[in-house]
Structures are given as structure tokens and as C-alpha cells.
């Protein structure tokens, strides 16, 4: 099986990897790079637990081949912190008690991050719409939605 050489930027660092064409990006991130924060919940693009950002867009890494990420910049949940400082979304999810089992949390935060980077003052409806990409079995979604709105406030205030 001929491998393909790719260059991917992950959380600010560039990696040169040899991957097989059918290898999923989520598996490369989790198994090769040890970034297990991105989760697999279904493998079919239905649950959103595998959401990461590619070039600033929310993308499902279980439905992306590693080869497709060649030359792209990827951000995973592990890349949100700046040293010990949490991203406002991470702070808000903690503060608003929006985390229960936590399995959907990285995917939700990454979906929200891509949204807030484009829309700094989303309505609750818009937040719900974006988060409809991410299944959660524990919270009932009200606190995650609130957390995103609070994070947006913080991010606007910081500017």
C-alpha cells in the first residue's frame, strides 16, 4: 500500500506524515499525534464529537481523510489554551456548568469557536442552530448554549 506524504499544521506545529489514502484524519490526530481530545462518537458524521477546525471552519474529522488535510491548518481542543490560560469558551463551559460527562464537550467547543470567530454576537437561535451539529445526551443543551453566549460576551469585551 503506497503511502502519501502530507504536511499538516496541528495546533500551530507542522507535521510531516506518511498516511494511507483511507486513513481518517480523526485517527491520525488521536492515534498518531496522541491528541485524544477529539472524540469518535459514531464515525458517520451524525454526532459531532469529532469536530475540529480546519482553516477556521468547523469540520468533522471522522469524515475527513488525512490526505485531504495536506497543507491545511488544524485546530483541536488541545490547541485552544494559551499556556495555562483557558480560552473564553473553555472558561465559560466550566463556569456555566455546561459540562457533565464531557464527551461531547470538545466537539461543541470547536463548533462554537469557529462560529464566534466569524460572528462575535450571535443570537441564541443562531447558537442553537450551530450546536445542532453536536449531540449531547446529558445536559439538555441549555447550559452549553448559555456558555457560548457568555463566551461571546467575554470575547467582545476583551477587544
Amino acid at each position: 500500500m503506497a503511502k502519501v506524504n502530507i504536511n499538516v499544521g496541528v495546533n500551530g506545529r507542522w507535521y510531516e506524515l506518511a498516511v494511507e489514502p483511507q486513513e481518517r484524519l480523526v485517527d491520525v490526530l488521536r492515534d498518531r499525534l496522541g491528541l485524544t481530545g477529539t472524540k469518535v462518537g459514531c464515525g458517520k458524521g451524525e454526532c459531532g464529537a469529532c469536530t475540529i477546525n480546519i482553516d477556521g471552519k468547523a469540520i468533522l474529522s471522522c469524515l475527513t481523510l488525512a490526505v485531504q488535510a495536506d497543507g491545511k491548518e488544524i485546530l483541536t481542543i488541545e490547541g485552544l489554551q494559551k499556556g495555562a490560560e483557558l480560552h473564553p469558551l473553555q472558561e465559560a463551559f466550566v463556569k456555566e456548568a455546561a459540562v457533565q460527562c464531557g464527551y461531547c464537550t470538545p466537539g461543541m467547543i470547536m463548533a462554537a469557536k469557529a462560529m464566534l470567530d466569524c460572528d462575535s454576537d450571535p443570537s441564541e437561535e443562531a447558537v442553537r442552530e450551530v450546536l445542532s451539529s453536536n449531540l449531547c445526551r446529558c445536559t439538555g443543551y441549555d447550559r452549553p448554549v448559555k456558555a457560548v453566549i457568555e463566551a461571546a460576551k467575554t470575547m467582545r469585551g476583551a477587544k
Binding site: 503506497a2 481518517r24 458524521g45 468533522l60 469524515l63 463548533a111 445542532s132 451539529s133
Partner: protein
């Protein structure tokens, strides 16, 4: 040996000649990958080559004097939010795009991929059908243009040949006083779903007479279909509630749904009637309010 999704080669060609060369030489053993949201779920076995369309500059939405041109690799989020598709009857396409899967999937899924996957319940084709759209394909031998309504052959099968690549969708300019609408019936309390029944309708009504009627039905046949008898009932007539009801019933008769785990055929057929009526009512209202 087990059947696996294990393409031996992956290519991201930089131009259409390279792309179509690959499709020509691998034939059935090559598949195009765009967003990946269908192919990586279906994971077909026996593939030798994946041809990625990402570098072919097929992601665009342009408007000129003969209508709107959408590149086949344009993602659904751009279609959903495009200012060129935000008003007039073209909005029916962005409405359809806005209810496909989830927002994150729409960041990845493309209009070309959605068309070529040819699900009988697909949302975009219905909007394209009532807008009288055409699709353009290219191969080493040249290029073809087909009306979208003729493009679908069977469940998950289009007229696309093994050596062809779908490159563009074209929407002709609509006449003034045209109103279109899109309706999708899902299972209840469920905002994200594959349509149980979906419907698009477009009416061109200068004055009070309906000059052109288009009604497209989804999830009720092997492919998306036009409800031709219903369309005929409306063409050239003055529209009123009774006529709309009759057309809705005719559309229901024309549908040929099946029973599956999502809904029964009987329910689907009845719902065609309900949705077509509602879609026509909205289209009539929009005829009056939209201008080109």
C-alpha cells in the same frame, strides 16, 4: 479476504484535464471525493483511486446575464448564505441547502456531491428542478449539459458516466412575478432529518394567471420527480384555493412512495398532498412580493 474501503491512490489534480484523465483510466475503480460526507459514510469497497476536486477551482457562485452559475464543489454553507441566492425564487435553493444534515456537515458537503449521490430524498435537487436548472459535465471527450430533472436515473444513480466529472450547476434567470418555496417534512421534534417527504414548488404568475408551474417531489419515488399532472392542472389557470387543493391531490396520486422504517407509503402519499398545498400557497404569496 475482506472487502474494504482501501483506495490505493489519492490524487488532488490541479486542472480538469488531469482529473478527467484519472477518471478515464480508472473508470469504475475511481471515485470523486469532494466533502467526503457521503463517500466516507458509504465506504465503497473495490476502489483503487480517489480523485479529490478541492484544487479544481470548482467552488464559486457567480451571476451574469444568463443566470447563476454554481461550481460543483461549492459547499452548502456558502449556498445557504449567498447574497445571490437570498431573494427572489432562487432563495428556494438556499432554503433547501439550509435544512440538509447539520451546519457542520454543510461546511463540508458540496452541491455536486449531493446531486451525484442521488438520494431519492435529497433536498437540493428539488429546488434545482423547479428553477429549471441544468448541470454541466466534462470528460476527455468533451462536455455535456443536461436538465437536472433528466439527470437522475434510479436510487443513488445518475446519468453521470464513469469517466465524467460534474463541474457546474446553472440556474437560468427567473421571470418576474415568480414565487418558489420548499417544504421538508421530517419526523417530529427532530430538526435534523432525512425527508419523509420533501417538495419544491415554483409558480410564475403575471397578473392572476399562472403561466408556469413547477412542482418537484422527493422521497416518494426512486428519484426526485416532477408532479406533471399537478403542474398541468395549474398552467394557464387563475389560481384559487380549490384549484390548489386539486393540484395537491393530483401530485399525491402521482407519487409512488414505499414503506420503510421512517414512514409508510400511505402516510407519505397523504403528506405529498399536504405539503404541495402548503408549498403552492407560499409560492403564490411570494409571486406577489418578490421582484428580480
Amino acid at each position: 479476504m475482506i472487502d474494504h474501503f482501501r483506495p490505493r491512490e489519492y490524487h488532488r489534480p490541479n486542472n480538469l484535464r488531469e482529473a478527467t484523465s484519472l477518471l478515464s483510466s480508472f473508470g469504475k475503480k475511481a471515485k470523486v471525493i469532494a466533502g467526503g460526507t457521503d463517500i466516507l459514510v458509504n465506504k465503497p469497497s473495490g476502489l483503487e483511486c480517489l480523485v479529490d476536486v478541492a484544487s479544481l477551482d470548482l467552488d464559486y457562485i457567480r451571476k451574469d446575464e444568463d443566470g447563476i452559475h454554481i461550481g460543483a464543489a461549492t459547499t452548502l454553507d456558502l449556498i445557504e448564505s449567498s447574497p445571490m441566492l437570498s431573494s427572489g425564487p432562487y432563495a428556494v435553493l438556499s432554503e433547501a441547502a439550509s435544512v440538509v444534515a447539520t451546519p457542520t456537515v454543510r461546511n463540508m458537503a458540496t452541491i455536486g456531491g449531493n446531486i451525484c449521490n442521488a438520494s431519492p430524498a435529497a433536498d437540493l435537487p428539488l429546488a434545482l428542478m423547479v428553477l429549471d436548472s441544468t448541470v454541466r459535465t466534462v470528460s476527455l471527450n468533451g462536455s455535456r449539459i443536461l436538465p437536472i430533472g433528466d439527470f437522475f436515473e434510479d436510487v443513488n444513480k445518475t446519468k453521470l458516466r464513469d469517466d465524467e466529472l460534474l463541474v457546474e450547476v446553472h440556474i437560468p434567470l427567473s421571470a418576474e412575478t415568480t414565487g418558489a418555496s420548499f417544504m421538508k417534512l421530517r419526523r417530529h421534534q427532530t430538526s435534523v432529518d432525512i425527508a419523509l417527504v420533501n417538495v419544491a414548488a415554483e409558480l410564475t404568475c403575471p397578473d392572476d394567471i399562472c403561466e408556469v408551474a413547477r412542482i418537484a417531489l422527493g422521497a416518494v419515488a426512486e428519484t426526485p420527480i416532477y408532479a406533471k399532472k399537478a403542474e398541468e392542472l395549474l398552467t394557464g389557470k387563475k389560481l384559487n384555493e380549490e384549484l390548489i387543493q386539486k393540484a395537491a391531490e393530483a401530485a399525491a396520486e402521482e407519487s409512488r412512495p414505499i414503506d420503510d422504517l421512517r414512514a409508510s407509503a400511505g402516510y407519505r402519499r397523504r403528506m405529498v398532498g399536504v405539503l404541495v398545498k402548503r408549498a403552492l400557497e407560499v409560492s403564490v404569496r411570494r409571486c406577489a412580493t418578490w421582484r428580480k
